[in-house]
């Protein structure tokens, strides 16, 4: 048997193995929901799991995301930026991009601030915020000359500084929460309830927004739009 068919056989075995596994009993879910809502004290249980019961995991995840965005910047820093970028010039598309950016920015704020009460949370808010900034970047890059190399560099450094401050603050607050130091609990379902969870959500939103924006900015700057 050739090595390649052996590869495919191994892939089939790995992919279909979960079908043979017995599934756990579903009746355990009711007790789990009750226990989680009493532990985390926030209505959105997914946010509660992410930022309270599995916070240790989330800290590592935030660190990995930061390392990836640092890696993108580092790998592209040896390249030459594009001299000029072919931007969009269709007026209808530009208006739609601006409208989309405004909507996405508003959605990002809503998702970050109320992520523990309704669907949302830091990651979703960060992706919405990153989309808003990326859409603005697409609109701007079609107009006028590009900002000078130094201006972009300074801008990028400032963004990275804020992003890293947000990450460090997130880690410090997460360790306070892991050590059991908690804010007053507040009323269930109120904006200022749930201990550190709303603050951690907002910090995560800032970090993911700036991180994804840095990546998109570097890609457009060094690879062009189209």
């Amino acid at each position: 048997m050739s090595l390649r068919s052996l590869h495919v056989l191994a892939a089939v075995a790995v992919a279909l193995a979960p079908l043979l596994q017995a599934l756990p009993d579903t009746a355990a879910n009711g007790a789990l929901i009750t226990a989680l809502s009493e532990q985390t004290r926030v209505p959105n249980l997914v946010s509660g799991v992410l930022l309270y019961t599995r916070l240790y995991d989330t800290v590592a995840e935030v660190v990995v995301f930061t390392l990836a965005s640092m890696g993108v910047v580092w790998m592209l820093s040896g390249e030459h930026p594009q001299a000029r970028i072919h931007g969009l010039d269709d007026p209808a598309v530009l208006v739609l991009c601006r409208l989309g950016a405004t909507m996405a920015a508003l959605v990002a704020v809503e998702l970050a601030l109320r992520g523990h009460l309704s669907p949302g949370g830091g990651f979703a808010a960060g992706v919405a915020g990153g989309t808003a900034l990326a859409l603005l970047l697409i609109v701007q890059s079609g107009h006028g000359p590009l900002p000078s190399e130094e201006a972009t560099h300074r801008n990028l450094e400032r963004t990275e500084l804020i992003e890293k401050l947000a990450v460090l603050l997130f880690i410090v607050l997460a360790f306070l929460s892991l050590e059991g130091l908690n804010l007053p609990r507040g009323n269930f379902g109120a904006l200022e309830s749930g201990g550190w969870i709303p603050i951690l959500n907002a910090l995560m939103a800032v970090k993911v927004t700036l991180g994804s924006w840095t990546m998109v900015q570097m890609f457009i700057r060094y690879r062009g739009l189209l």
């Binding site: 992919a15 599934l23 879910n29 009711g30 009750t34 809502s37 249980l45 790998m75 269930f188 991180g211």
Partner: protein, 130 residues
């Protein structure tokens, strides 16, 4: 076969498609894209498992954290959802980094053929150059 097993089979076939693409494609760029197919399929597997117990989004309504255990049975399981949420973000950032590494490699060898990239530098297309 229950409906859950049937859906699980479909999702696992998508996982398999990604894995086979990852193993069989010779082009590095297509390998990276096949990896993304696998990761998306695994995410849907987790969503499917979370929805096995119930379909209601695990967001409570009302002013108290107390849940009626009977009503709680209809909620989806929040743990797999939270676990896979981190995997989505990690997947995005790893994908960005991998695609960047691939484009950097493409400036050395535009075909991105894995067998050619594995050859030692001296035998490559830029033999003798720094």
């Amino acid at each position: 076969m229950t409906a859950f097993r049937l859906l699980e089979l479909l999702v696992l076939i998508a996982v398999l498609a990604g894995l086979v693409g990852l193993l069989r494609h010779r082009n590095l760029f297509l390998k990276v894209l096949a990896m993304d197919v696998t990761s998306t399929a695994v995410i849907s597997l987790f969503v499917l498992i979370a929805a096995r117990d119930g379909l209601i989004t695990p967001i409570l309504h009302g002013d108290t954290p107390v849940v009626d255990p009977q009503a709680a049975l209809a909620y989806a399981d929040p743990i797999p959802q939270a676990v896979i949420l981190t995997a989505i973000v990690i997947g995005f950032s790893v994908q960005a980094l991998l695609l960047l590494a691939t484009t950097l490699l493409a400036s050395r060898d535009p075909t991105l053929d894995v067998a050619e990239l594995d050859e030692p530098e001296a035998a490559g297309p830029r033999a003798g150059q720094p």
